[in-house]
Amino acid sequence: MAIQERRIIYKHVDEPGYTADIDCYMRHGGYEVLKQALQAKPEDLCKEVFDSGLTGRGGAGFPTGMKWKFLDRKSGKPIYLVCNADESEPGTFKDRQIIYQDPHQLIEGMAISAYAIQAKQAFIYIRGEFINGARILENAIEEARAKGFIGEDIGGSGYSCDIVVHRGAGAYICGEETGLIESLEGKRGYPRIKPPYFPAVLGLYQCPTIVNNVETLAQVKHIIQMGGTEFAKIGVKGDTGTHIFGVSGHVQKPGYYEVEAGSATFGELLYDLCGGPLPGRKFKALIPGGSSTKILRFGERFTGKHPNTGEPFDWGVEDIPLDAISLRACGTFLGTGGAIVMDDSTDMMEAIANLMAFYGHESCGQCTPCREGSLWLNKMTTRMCSGRARTEDVDLMKNIADQIEGRTICAHGEAVAWPTQSHYNKFKDEYLDKIARQGDGRGRYNPNGYPLI
């Protein structure tokens, strides 16, 4: 089976002649779905999304319809919709294309979603570095407002909702749902404790709030267009729709590829779409979905019973199907689909040091395990790479990660712990080998020829 891209979200991305303005969007049938949606009852739209089985595309993969069901509608407080455009997970660059090349798709998806959940006001929280993205979105919102697709009395339906673009200030943690809400409120981006601050009950300004990823909201448009049950036929059970894989690293053709969930394998993605490894190199490791997901090592075997089919499987990394269910069965996550590929020139100790430098820098500093643990791991891995590694550091690294995992306020703790734990499990030998070589005086072990950090 040859791998086929199936572009739903990215239908017009990189299409020659396609521009980000509303006229171009409407020439391609834009805002028709919104008009159609406004005829329906909001609860029916919510049901469509629930039936579609859409899972969140921001990394955690929580069912979107379920999230919407949790909304506290009894409190009488206004409901807010927040679009999480703080795409800052290393290796992830999928939302960026939507924002830059097809912003109206997002705005239409947001308008539909806002109507479905009866939101009073919608926000787009965009990462500070996307300066042009924010400008493009603001421009697109102006255009949509002029045509009456957002703002007062949308499409004559009597429903009003406006969208405000809010730029972040460059903190990774503000991509975390509750950290984002705090930041949007104008406070320091400290994630909130859950319980009691579940966004669907006590979110923005202590009102019920839905925070969805850019791609998720864009998918909503297509769900309403084709109907929830129809959408559910795309992909596999438990992971419907398409996934955008942003492949980066040591492949011939890095880039973004939209593929139907479960329709192909990682091998096909990496060899057929991405053109395989660089000349003379071999794949060594794969981070499947953004840097916080657990790393996979080429050559290891994954066995077990597939939760969907119940059939036993025995896969190498190349054989893993591109869907969240199969990846979870292999002990890792699909995350954001931002796959980072490393070939045999990569020094894994440098790689983990690079990741830890990021997570140590980005820990917000609110809760103890993440604050102290991530900086400790950062200092330690940097030292290890500078030729002063001790054998006991390898076990210590794992131990520190274990002390962080599951004990923090937000998932940043896991984002620090998972890469470390999986690196330890899969590349411990390489670490120990490198440390032994340093100890022998055989000099610095660096197959790459230059340091990564």
Binding site: A171, P369, R407, I409
Partner: protein
């Protein structure tokens, strides 16, 4: 709380044992109420929950129910409802006591969580306990003993931060010691309503600071030092003065105003070092003012009176009391006192007044309060004067009547207890002509012209009771001995009384005075001095509800009646 004001008790299970705790109580407090300690840093009963220290992580579970039917799922082996344990540990401080909650505070996972958090907290901590003021009362030290490793696995360089940041006139910050629990930040925002503190920088480099252009200068700033679980926030006054394990805490009451703030007075070898608030949820929660903490400085003031004197000449107590009796009996006499006297002193003074009758006036000390823990009435015990029957009317600011009586010669002798009459409208020339018997702690313009001086003790040097604005009877204890040769006020009053009555001084104990009071005063009939709880005893003040007290509303106090239109505040 249920409708009838009674807190509903719910069953919870801690480490396999069943307990009953009030519903909705924070689990950290609930555990503490049944004697199980859940270590914590960031949680504080009187502040909002922030859940950032992660020290109170415990295993938590709730009784399982069938999702479809809602029927309880039973465990066949035990015959009890099955417990659904959460996959991850949860923070106890963010959970409330609900029926059937199960927690494990001693399990392997819980212990490993605590050990992990301890190691992380100490990773970048300077470990300068030998020079740290908090040493001895430091939560970090305490829990490091319980859950610390004993050695460090951290070989990296520690973060370096400033060691002596001045946050305000009374608070100095050691940034390195800070564990970023945010108690102080929450205190300033939620209790003091003066949000000047916040964190800057990120991750482990985070540090506490004031917002630009502000400083921690509120009159409640030192509470941040009290609630700081480590030695990061230090009192500039107490910093580097004394190791806390040498200090002896004595329960006391702040005399700053009629709020009756519960305090602890810390002393060593007869010297006072600091005053901290003592928790009383009905009066001051866990807080007190900075100004109240500084009152201990009056003990060693230069103006302190140390000797009995007659006409400026040092004499013995016997001679001073003899001379005072002569002046009183020369009469006619008037008595001036105030709410600074303890209930016992007021009771003794009343006995003296009964023996040698004369008018009794309280000098009022009113000044606008802050609507929190400083009331408009700056004396602690005006209500004691009413309850003991010493006065019938509220204190006055100006002693116009007494001045006229002195001018006309109607009054010849004045017994003044601790008040500066020159500030109450009686010129010192007039006082010089009168026979003035002065009892008090410090010199002032009035004591300078007194014929007989009887030095007394400060609140830190004696034991007694005050009745605060809520009519709450609260005890204070002697923390340090008074100056050599001086004795408790009640003994001096007793000696004076004995001299006037022609008997021998009996030196009544406080219990005896209270027996006497119980017999005389209806609302004190049931009160025994030794049985007064440490959190105070609320008396029935309804008999005095008609009086125009000057206190406005404050923390835990609402005035009984509309403030009188004539009241100054």
């Amino acid at each position: 709380m249920s409708d009838n004001g009674q807190t509903k008790m719910v069953p919870i299970n801690i480490d396999g044992k069943d307990f009953e705790v009030p519903e909705g109580m924070n689990l950290v407090d609930a555990c503490e109420s049944v004697g199980v300690e859940v270590p914590h840093y960031c949680y504080h009963t009187h502040l909002s929950v922030s859940g950032n220290c992660r020290m109170c992580l415990v295993e938590m579970g709730t009784p399982m129910r069938d999702r479809a039917t809602g029927e309880p799922i039973m465990d066949d082996e035990t015959g009890k409802q099955k417990i659904g344990w959460m996959p991850k540990p949860a923070i106890a401080c963010a959970s409330k006591a609900a029926p059937g909650v199960h927690i494990k505070t001693q399990s392997e996972l819980t212990k490993s969580c605590r050990e992990g958090v301890m190691e992380f907290l100490l990773a970048n901590h300077p470990l300068d306990c030998p020079i740290c003021d908090q040493a001895g009362e430091c939560r970090l030290q305490e829990f490091a003993t319980d859950y610390g490793r004993g050695f460090s696995r951290y070989v990296e360089e520690k973060n370096v931060k400033p060691k002596r940041t001045v946050l305000g006139p009374r608070v100095t910050l050691d940034n390195e010691r800070c564990i970023l629990c945010s108690r102080c930040v929450r205190f300033c925002a939620e209790i003091d309503k003066n949000p000047v503190l916040g964190f800057t920088e990120r991750g482990s480099h985070s540090t506490l600071t004031c917002y630009p252009g502000t400083q921690l200068d509120s009159n409640y700033s030192l509470n941040t030092v009290d609630i700081c679980p480590v030695g990061a926030l230090t009192s500039t006054d107490f910093r580097f003065k004394m190791r806390v394990w040498f200090l002896k805490p004595t329960k006391s009451i702040c005399t700053e105003s009629s709020a009756g703030v519960n305090t602890e007075v810390w002393s060593r070898e007869g010297k006072l070092y600091r005053v901290t608030p003592r928790r009383n949820d009905e009066v001051n929660d866990s807080w007190m003012t900075d100004s109240g903490r500084m009152l201990y400085k009056m003990v060693e003031s230069e103006a302190r009176m140390q000797r009995f004197r007659i006409d400026g000449q040092v004499c013995t107590l016997g001679n001073a009391v003899l001379r005072a009796r002569e002046l009183i009996q020369l009469g006619p006499v008037a008595y001036v006192a105030s709410g600074h006297l303890s209930v016992e002193e007021q009771a003794m003074l009343r006995k003296l007044v009964e023996k040698e009758p004369g008018s009794v006036t309280f000098v009022g000390h009113t000044k606008e309060g802050d609507g929190r823990l400083i009331t408009n009435d700056r004396t602690p015990n005006v209500r004691g004067g009413l309850v003991t029957g010493l006065i019938k009317e509220l204190p006055v600011a100006e002693l116009d009547k007494l001045r006229r009586q002195l001018e006309s010669g109607e009054i010849k002798t004045v017994v003044c207890y601790g008040e500066d009459l020159t500030k109450a409208g009686i010129p010192s020339e007039l006082l010089k002509k009168a026979n003035l018997v002065y009892l008090g702690t410090h010199r002032n313009a009035t004591s300078d012209v007194a014929r007989v001086l009887l030095p007394t003790l400060t609140v830190f040097e004696k034991t007694g009771t005050f009745i605060n604005q809520q009519f709450r009877l609260q005890k204070f204890y002697q923390a340090v001995p008074g100056p050599a040769g001086l004795m408790p006020d009640v003994y001096i009053l007793d000696a004076l009384l004995a001299e006037c009555a022609g008997g021998a001084p009996c030196r009544p104990t406080l219990e005896q005075i209270w027996q006497d009071l119980a017999a005389k005063v209806d609302i004190l009939a049931e009160v025994k001095f030794n049985k007064i709880p440490e959190t105070g005893l609320l008396l029935d003040g309804s008999a005095y509800a008609g009086l125009p007290f000057c206190e406005g509303s404050g923390w835990h106090f609402e005035p009984q009646r509309e403030l009188a239109a004539t009241s100054k505040f």
